[in-house]
Symmetry: C2
Subunit: 252 residues, 2 copies
């Protein structure tokens, strides 16, 4: 038995997220499971592959280096997975690398640090054809210094109940944010980058939504602190759209 | 009679280019002409609008700030064109600004300086889902310093016959390139920017193709000079794909 770790890039626009859904909805896990099953079983009878991803992603969220693993009995050379799977996969998914790892490795359980990017277009326009599935177009001018301050307030080990989707079932709402930066890339492009040990459902998007409200002058830093302290899923109502969010990388 | 100048952004992926084509192919000029006709004639009977663009673009080429103009008798306020047309236009086209200009202004004839961008992904992978309609993925490592040298060789007033699509009918192949820069944006992204008084058919894409060949070590700077001097449409056979090309801006 072997354990294969893959790093993939995907455009999330045409997916309802990573996790397999009932009703035939298109998911990255579904597409990967199908491609891996077809590839590893070629001419040797089917293999029932179970693909474990680093975590769920929302519908429309992208990934630059998402990690997954699966057990297989095939003796295909490791490098063969890259070429072979890419030949099977559609345009919006691509295997960047493959690795043979120890049988104990689990892409979800062993993740130590996850990093997300969020892209915002802030050029005074309501929408941008070129960035329509790649970023959030915010029309009102954003104060990047204020956004940096807001992001800094969110760093640390905290109870993030206020930044969690309603209806999400977890045993604890405490998560640790290692860093949260806001960069002006020029030409109206703003890029946020957040690293943490783990994230609650919608947590990155709700944090980004609130940072943008601060940048737009609609929420003060003090009000943001009050939202954190409230530990109430109803107080932070602004969720940034999924199309601007990218799973950037994970460390094990 | 009024003359309206519009600046638009478009994602060229689903267009066969700017210019109206026979056979119902989807063009930016066609979509704009239809939207403007519908908008200016609302409730007042049809107006036969003729839309003039700054220039042709190839199928798949994008634009950040493409300029067009048209004559109209409507008394809609200038700002109304932005909101009104954007309400009519599909997701992949957007009017960024509208201006009333003198009746003599012609978007094509009066252009003094045009600037194009070309985006290349050079991260060691054959393709990138996220950049698949936005950049050219070049797998072999590119030497950016060599590419800068190659770009510099193309600057100036020259006979660009070697950089013109076969079958293109023009009275002279002499064009002036004002500047040609190559920038490393990090994360494997390379951006080329070229400004000139005007360009021949496929000229930017053939120039980029040859600069990439230099960067990949498959063409020397001396060989590039020989290609320019040859004034022969057959010698420079490499045309960069249209998906990486953006009409950036025009000065009048």
């Amino acid at each position: 038995m072997r354990n294969i770790k893959l790093t993939i890039e995907f455009d999330g626009t045409e997916f309802v997220g990573w996790q397999i859904q009932p009703g035939g909805l298109r998911t990255v896990q579904g597409v990967m499971t199908e491609a891996i099953s077809r590839f590893t079983s070629a001419g040797m009878g089917g293999e029932d592959v179970k693909v474990t991803g680093v975590g769920r992603t929302d519908s429309g969220v992208h990934a630059r280096a998402y990690v997954l693993n699966f057990l297989t009995t095939t003796n295909i050379p490791t490098e063969g997975f890259v070429k072979g799977l890419n030949a099977e996969l559609p345009d919006d998914v691509f295997v960047k690398s493959a690795e043979d790892v120890s049988l104990e490795f689990n892409a979800r359980r062993d993740a130590k640090k996850k990093t997300y990017l969020y892209r915002i277009v802030n050029s005074g326009h309501r929408r941008s054809p070129l960035e329509r599935n790649r970023a959030w177009s915010v029309e009102e001018p954003l104060d990047i210094e204020l956004m940096k301050e807001a992001a800094a307030v969110l760093v640390g080990k905290k109870d993030f109940t206020s930044f969690c989707a309603a209806g999400s079932c977890v045993s604890t709402f405490v998560r640790e944010i290692f860093s949260f930066t806001v960069k002006d890339l020029g030409d109206g492009l703003i890029e946020l980058e957040v690293s943490g040990g783990g994230f609650l459902k919608y947590m990155v998007r709700i944090m980004v939504g609130n940072i943008v409200m601060v940048g737009a002058g609609k929420l003060t830093i003090d009000e943001l602190r009050t939202i954190i302290e409230a530990r109430d899923r109803e107080v932070a109502s602004i969720t940034a759209p999924s199309r601007g969010l990218y799973f950037k990388e994970v460390e094990y």
